[in-house]
Amino acid sequence: MNNEFNINHLQFLVQGAGWTVILSLMAFAGGGLLGFGVALARISRSRWLRWISLGYVQLVQGTPLLILMFLAYFGLSIMGLTLPAIVAAGISMTIYVSAYIGEIWRGCIEAVPRTQWEAAECLALTRSQRLFKVILPQALRIATPPTVGFMVQIVKNTSLASVVGFVELARAGQVINNSLFEPFMVYMLVAGLYFLLCYPLSWWARKLEDRLLVVRNSVTKTKKGIGDVQYCES
């Protein structure tokens, strides 16, 4: 490689961006599946399930993702497994996503009015019928905007997979910078690529949110309020 930024560098960055997308999709799929279980366990009738899932969420939400990455990476290696970095990154991202998205979805399920549960019960539906046929379809509507919003967090947080040596966008930037020594330009470019990945998602989340508010306002004639579905970002 010569010391000028050229098309090969750009290609390498775009390739890194591709891996970022793949890791994000893995994290979303795995984390979503596990998170759905967490959400259900959090509203379960069994006290044990509620306590265990609460403990899990508090544990994961109280630990930085960076530390989760290190734990997955070194934890897998002491079990005698030499797995590619993407596995360690995928596992820690899955755990991280499941704890946050599980809480978001729990909030959405609980935002469905209590009377819906009671009405379904009056129709002699079983608990699982009530949940899957009455509550979840309504919760899905409420859940879409914050879920899309959280996808932005997932994409951004995959950048931490670079610490376990997975070559995604941020790592690709580091590699290129090591040969070019032009950090400002390289990292600005990397930031620009992340922005291109994230901004459409943010925009979509906002549109969905506006639409949901319009629906809600026209149905219940309530004022736009904050705090219905609170979630935070990092």
Binding site: Q61, G62, F70, V152, Y187, A191, Y194
Partner: protein, 227 residues
């Protein structure tokens, strides 16, 4: 699996860990205070009728919220030094964290400010309160009261995110953990200990914020609304 856990070597380094935790607290508290200041100013700026003030504020929020903190830290640290502006790692870490949390605080404070009823502001103007008085007593304090839970969880997340500054070897808990694990060769044990430290720190921060909330928002306490 035949791995034998051995925490003795790691736990022998406890003064180092405590020192690291203290540095993390310092880092997060200074970033929180400065970030709250910037965020509040930007939230006010976004309401401005002057597009030259409102536009840059929303641009700042969009750019920061759609790029990873890791890259922001790299830009501040490596980028600035390559432009001939040499900053120490710790200062760069604080700067990057402040820039980051400022954008999130802006969004949260904006939500709070928007939730203030227009009639309240008009009533305050009728009482001949000055602009500053209206902002402080009628807009900012009640807004802050409303978004306080969201704000504090964002600040706890900031504390956790401050671990990322170890990537530019700013001195804090994770950086110290990296050092301990390369000294003791007990990486898994080291990071388990550090994870426990972070858990305790987030618990500590939540408790502190709860206490601050109790002291600051007495009206809410009297009404018995849970924080």
């Amino acid at each position: 699996m035949t791995y034998k856990f051995d925490f003795s070597g790691v736990l022998a380094q406890w003064p180092l860990f405590l020192h690291g935790a203290w540095l993390t607290i310092q880092l997060s508290v200074s970033a929180t205070i400065l970030g709250l200041l910037i965020g509040t100013l930007c939230a006010i700026g976004r309401r401005s009728h002057n597009a030259w003030i409102a536009r840059p504020c929303s641009l700042y929020v969009e750019i920061i919220r759609n790029t990873p903190l890791l890259v922001q830290i790299f830009i501040v640290y490596f980028g600035l030094s390559s432009l001939g502006w040499k900053v120490p790692a710790y200062a760069a870490a604080i700067a990057a964290l402040v820039i980051n949390i400022g954008a999130y605080t802006t969004e949260i404070m904006r939500a709070g400010i928007e939730s203030i009823h227009k009639g309240q502001i008009e009533a305050a103007q009728c009482l001949a309160l000055s602009k500053v008085q209206v902002y402080w007593h009628v807009i900012l304090r009640p807004a802050m009261e409303r978004v306080y839970p969201a704000l504090t969880s964002q600040f706890v997340l900031l504390m956790l995110a401050s671990s990322i500054t170890s990537q530019i070897s700013a001195e804090e808990l994770t950086a110290i953990a990296n050092r301990v694990q390369s000294d003791t060769y007990r990486s898994f044990e080291t990071y388990i200990v550090v994870a426990v430290f972070y858990l305790l720190l987030s618990l500590l921060m939540r408790t502190a914020f709860w206490a601050i909330g109790q002291a600051m928002f007495t009206r809410r306490r009297r009404l018995g609304t849970p924080m």
